[in-house]
Amino acid sequence: MIKCNLREVMMAKKIILILLTTIILTGCWDSAEINDRDYIFAVGIDKGEDENLVFTAEIPKINEGSEEQRIIFTQESKNLSNFYNDSFVRSEKVISDRLMQVIVIGESIAEDTETFKRLFDEIQRSPQINRRVKIAVAKGDAKKIIETEIPSNPIVGRYLSEMLIKLKKSNVQSIYTFDEALLNLQGFGSGLIPIVEKFEDSLKIENAAVMKDYKKIGNLNSLENEIVMLILDPKSSNIRNINLNVEDSIISLSTVNIKSTNKIKLSDDKLSVNYYVTLYCFIESFTLNNKSLADKKFIDKIKEAAVNQISEQTDSTINKVQKIYKIDLFKIKNELYKYHNIKYKKIEDNYQQVFENADINVYYAVDIKSTGLVK
């Protein structure tokens, strides 16, 4: 007969309790091993029939050791969660969106306010999709973008993600994540979402979709986008070369630094906004052995031509944004709210009208800091 003292019994009870606790209370019924998961890298969303959405998902075959192969499948579902439910019965693995890199929104959705809002709400509400997921609007169908075979980088999700990060870092595009798109559309009622389109056997992001009240109302080309970015964030703005023709010589200027100040005046219903932008440039290219750059008058002519050229582009962009699209892409409302709050409160309800009639000017000054490595 085995004799146990009280202490041993208590110890045995404790061990059994601990073991039971670790087994029962781990909540491990949630677990799905990484090998049993299919990670969606990119999803394209288009409008389907009967209020349905067409989801085109790209899943890299990472579990099979290949970084360059992918599976693409298309599914028509009511919404994102239905898409996961519908996909569940199509694969032996668990579909996961935790590593989602890019969401490409089809033009058909971007042009439909209700569907766009429904989709954004679902993404925002989802505890699984990261708000930092990159976002782009497709030119045409999102499905075609996802299906593009890019020889150099076959995983479209990765390709677009890397490209959007690059464009954001160099300030070519103002929005690159879902979070930014949401904050802009909710906070300012407008925003510029990058447009992705097919380009030869690859993809390019050059233009931006003009979004107003959760609807795409037009496009800005790269030059116009550049001007908007210059006004919005001059310090990190990235202006491409200014190509001029002065006295039959072709000159290319490159901007190295930009300084900007603004003056916003609001008296009653009259809003006037003046931006003063100084571009510090250097000569990128000129003509070999041409010594005109030593002449101050010639330099002044270059400056004048540069100012005229960029002012012309700016005026046309401002006109398009203010008079045609009638949206405050320059976030003047935000400036008024933060720095002239008392005056802004008086016109808050009537702001749209005030903005449309506002006098918006950008005054440029160009300073040539260097002629490069030769005189």
Binding site: T21, L25, W29, R98, L99, N130, R131, K338, I342
Partner: protein, 361 residues
């Protein structure tokens, strides 16, 4: 049975950790109560009010060394009043703990264990926390100590990495000041300094007691700074419009954690893992002090078993509470009452003590 002495700094850590737990929970209320990004003014006012009471309450507690607020009340007032005060703190701690439990359980459910029933999460936390709570104040103090080092400081540090692409101008406009909103939010901010209620009990376990006053004052200042930092961080990250829509704004900031060179499948889980330790410690602290008040109010000797009695009560209260978003309107009004009583009870004791002093003189 267990060691019943803690050092002044252990006490400081306990009250800082517990305050942070409530501050992050109450953040949505502060954000939506005040128009514009000036809720931090309410936090400063709340801190100032509490700061002014630290000296007199410590003077009284020094006089009755080793006694908690319930014990002191027992010496000053008729027995039924001290019992009432004791029951008030029992109710406060149990309700506050059930809010914390519900909030914490939901966070885990929505962000980590999607399929696990919330009741399982709550009971698991309760069982583990009760074990720690039963081990006495020394264990609680050591847990708080460790939490500060391994979870709280890294948690705050990780947040720094989430300020990428923040709009710092979101802290504007400061004018016109929404005075009504600020005043309305003050009781909620006071409730956020939950450590103030805890120190009414924990101070009596501190040895030596001489540094209590200075460290209690430091608690108010440090806790206020953390509170303001958290508030401003949310505002600059999301802006006021979006921040007021979020159920867990503080946790949502975690979605932006971006530590160069690190890969995270789900970034908010990094924050969650720290938050789990912090909130778990808060639950332990609350369970322990509920047990303590029960002991004092019911005049029992060492009765760690009150910890286990709390389990079904906390489980039921946490389970029947609605989801956090729907719960906020119900928290707002009780928080007003609790904040008022948390201030009134010590003030009443201070007043009574001064009156007694005058009579003696």
């Amino acid at each position: 049975m267990y060691e019943k002495e803690i050092t002044p700094y252990q006490n400081l850590f306990i009250i800082i950790v517990i305050s942070f737990g409530f501050q992050s929970m109450l953040m949505p209320i502060i954000l939506s109560a005040v128009k514009g990004p000036i809720g931090w003014i309410s936090i400063i006012i709340g801190a100032l009010i509490l700061y002014l009471t630290i000296r007199p309450i410590n003077q009284v507690m020094n006089k009755y060394k080793g006694d908690t607020i319930v014990g002191i009340a027992g010496r000053m007032f008729p027995k039924y009043i001290s019992k009432l005060i004791g029951f008030y703190y029992i109710v406060l701690f149990i309700i506050a703990n059930s809010w914390l439990m519900k909030d914490f359980g939901e966070q885990i459910k929505y962000l980590m264990l999607f399929n696990t029933p919330i009741s399982i999460i709550i009971i698991a936390i309760l069982l583990v926390a009760s074990y720690a709570a039963k081990k006495g104040i020394q264990s609680i103090a050591q847990i708080a100590n460790i939490t500060i080092l391994i979870a709280f400081i890294p948690y705050i540090a990780v947040i720094i990495f989430s300020t990428y692409y923040s709009d710092y101008t979101n802290v504007l406009p400061m004018f016109p000041v929404d005075i009504e909103g600020i005043v309305n939010a003050v009781p909620n901010t006071i409730f956020g300094f939950f450590g103030f209620s805890i120190l009414m009990f924990s101070n009596s376990y501190v040895v030596p007691t001489e540094r209590n006053m200075i460290l209690n004052k430091r608690f108010i200042i440090i806790s206020m700074m953390i509170y303001i930092l958290s508030y401003i961080l949310i505002v600059i990250k999301f802006g006021m419009d979006e921040a007021t829509k979020l159920v867990w704004p503080f946790l949502s900031v975690m979605k932006f954690v971006n530590i160069p060179g690190f890969f995270f499948e789900s970034t908010e889980i990094v924050g969650m893992s720290f938050q789990i330790i912090v909130t778990f410690t808060c639950i332990c602290i609350l369970m322990h002090f509920t047990n303590l008040v029960l002991e004092e109010t019911l005049d029992t000797r060492e009765s760690g078993y009150f910890v286990f009695i709390q389990i079904p009560i906390l489980y039921i209260t946490a389970s029947i509470l609605p989801g956090m978003y729907m719960l906020y309107p119900y928290i707002k009004i009780p928080a007003y009452i609790f904040s008022a009583l948390n201030l009134l009870i010590p003030l009443l004791i201070i007043y009574k003590d001064r009156k007694k002093n005058k009579a003696t003189n």
